[in-house]
Symmetry: C2
Amino acid sequence: LSKVTVSKVINNRPDIGQETKERVLAKIAELGYVPNPLARGLVTGRTGTLGIVVPDLSILFFSEIARSIESVAAKRGYCLLIGNSEEDPAKEWNHLKAFRQHRADGIFVASVLSVGQGESLDRLQKEGARMLLLDRIHPEVHCHQVGTDDEKVGWLATEHLIRLGHKRIAHLLGPSVSTAIGRMRGYQKALDEHGLALNPAWMVPCGFLQSEGYAAMQRLLERREPRVTAVFASNDPVAVGALQAIAEAGLRVPDDYAVVGAGDTVQADLLKVPLTSVGWDRGKMGKKAAELMLNQIESEHPLPPQRLVLEPLLLVRASCGELTGSGVAAPKPRRGRKSLRRQEAGCP
Amino acid sequence: LSKVTVSKVINNRPDIGQETKERVLAKIAELGYVPNPLARGLVTGRTGTLGIVVPDLSILFFSEIARSIESVAAKRGYCLLIGNSEEDPAKEWNHLKAFRQHRADGIFVASVLSVGQGESLDRLQKEGARMLLLDRIHPEVHCHQVGTDDEKVGWLATEHLIRLGHKRIAHLLGPSVSTAIGRMRGYQKALDEHGLALNPAWMVPCGFLQSEGYAAMQRLLERREPRVTAVFASNDPVAVGALQAIAEAGLRVPDDYAVVGAGDTVQADLLKVPLTSVGWDRGKMGKKAAELMLNQIESEHPLPPQRLVLEPLLLVRASCGELTGSGVAAPKPRRGRKSLRRQEAGCP
DNA sequence: ATGAAAGCGCTAACAA
DNA sequence: TTGTTAGCGCTTTCAT
């Protein structure tokens, strides 16, 4: 029995006799033999490893996606490497290089790069790296991309505030990545559609962190007339920061300020003021991304880059109040739509 | 110039001339050459890869630890593989096997295995896997272990309730892993020290998930006399579940029930009722674990297994009220000790 | 249908 | 100090 025969059995080659095949399989089971992925990778170039780079794994949004990707990867026999870029392009690049070096078969990345700065990613892709852009999109990169319709996210949030009667609506604007920019566009579009003025002073620049939302809201609170009555935050952590700043100033939500977030990543029901947010399915994001990637990897012919857009959904809770806009705080009851939150926190 | 020479330069071997060394280095920089870790791993057995297996990456406690490990791993040139066991021993084992197969230089595991069931881990260790037990300890496994003093966690929580005047204190008991058992012991010890009766009916079995805490608290609420006035939950998610059940029953915290958690992983300040909890430093856990592991890997001689125990700290907030035990809800002001929470949520 | 030969990119041992 | 030889465990031709 030569090792070539064994190799053929393991790789399910057609040119092998049924009887020998079974004999080999039996022996493999008996000896508990497992092939060495390094040796295999050295010759085939494929390692059975994927990689993912995110800004920060301890942000629920990303850890949920990573978890979901890992789950389907494991099911199909792949391992997952993970790297935190910590919002630092250099660290992101280092992880990308390291994963390439380790011959990851595919790399998911929620890039910290600003829109328009994606050439390095496109170069990687052209050099043969199989990549998939997660959440944050770069049109110039020719690879699969999975995200949500961020313009619609911003539109849904702002439209909701307008319908509640708000006319002076601020936006805590995120960093210069596609998601933040899309949400801002949606905000502007909604104002526009309703003929509301777009006051540049109401677009407060801000990052994606809770602390930044806090600081931005403080700045907004200092401003005098004309005061805003509502705030659309670029994401939930920022919204939570804003909530903190408002509370500290002795003001109330939704009575003094209505607040909407984006992402629906907060344990909303337990908050002092349950946060209204626009959400989409992170589990599905991860699942779809992983499937796209693995199908790509395992297909013979290169598939055309695909762009998957998940549908965002407004989740109304108490932080925007009822129809008067600055009146009662009674939260609208949640509609019949199934909640997006499959989230189940636990341990230790 | 032979490849052997290059290899020697890269590995900093002493038997190489200063001048050739520089020449090689220059050429490497010029060509952008990077060694292939697979080929290297094939011959040396070392791959520059670590692995971590946790119950669920989307639980903040674990994602913070993973993030911290990844950070020091990256700094020292290692990649990190990650696997979710989803509280399933079979999945845990599969990840462990896969990481071994991929020749990870070391594996961190927060095992789902019950205490006393750690033989498989010890066998792995004996077979040459370098392992480190995270959070959940198995005394029979001979490897590094990093966790907290869970008995003290339980003791601090329960002692706090007793000092506030509570005499009938329930415990939402976690699964049969070391952390839950330790916390239960601490609970019993504190009761004991104060001569308080340990009513078995007040130890409600429960998992580590929020939904389980919710269900367990509901069961507890159904029970009649003698009613408890306080609850120590095995971890924060369970405490949050209990909070929900109490609120739904139309009762109030801390007026009707005082509640303490463990882990301090909840955005406590934003909750309707900020949760008092016993916490310890997850960032430090990850950092120390990674350092222990990497020093082990890079040392010539095997180091003796070390057991690192982080100090837990009571963080008093509003969920237990003030000294009367069922009186006013005014939260004690946080003491001067530096907060453990370096947490900064943000994105997507 | 099976296996011998060659080689993936590296390092360890040894020779020069 | 340098380079030659061998081999890590696999897969890929290409004979048989």
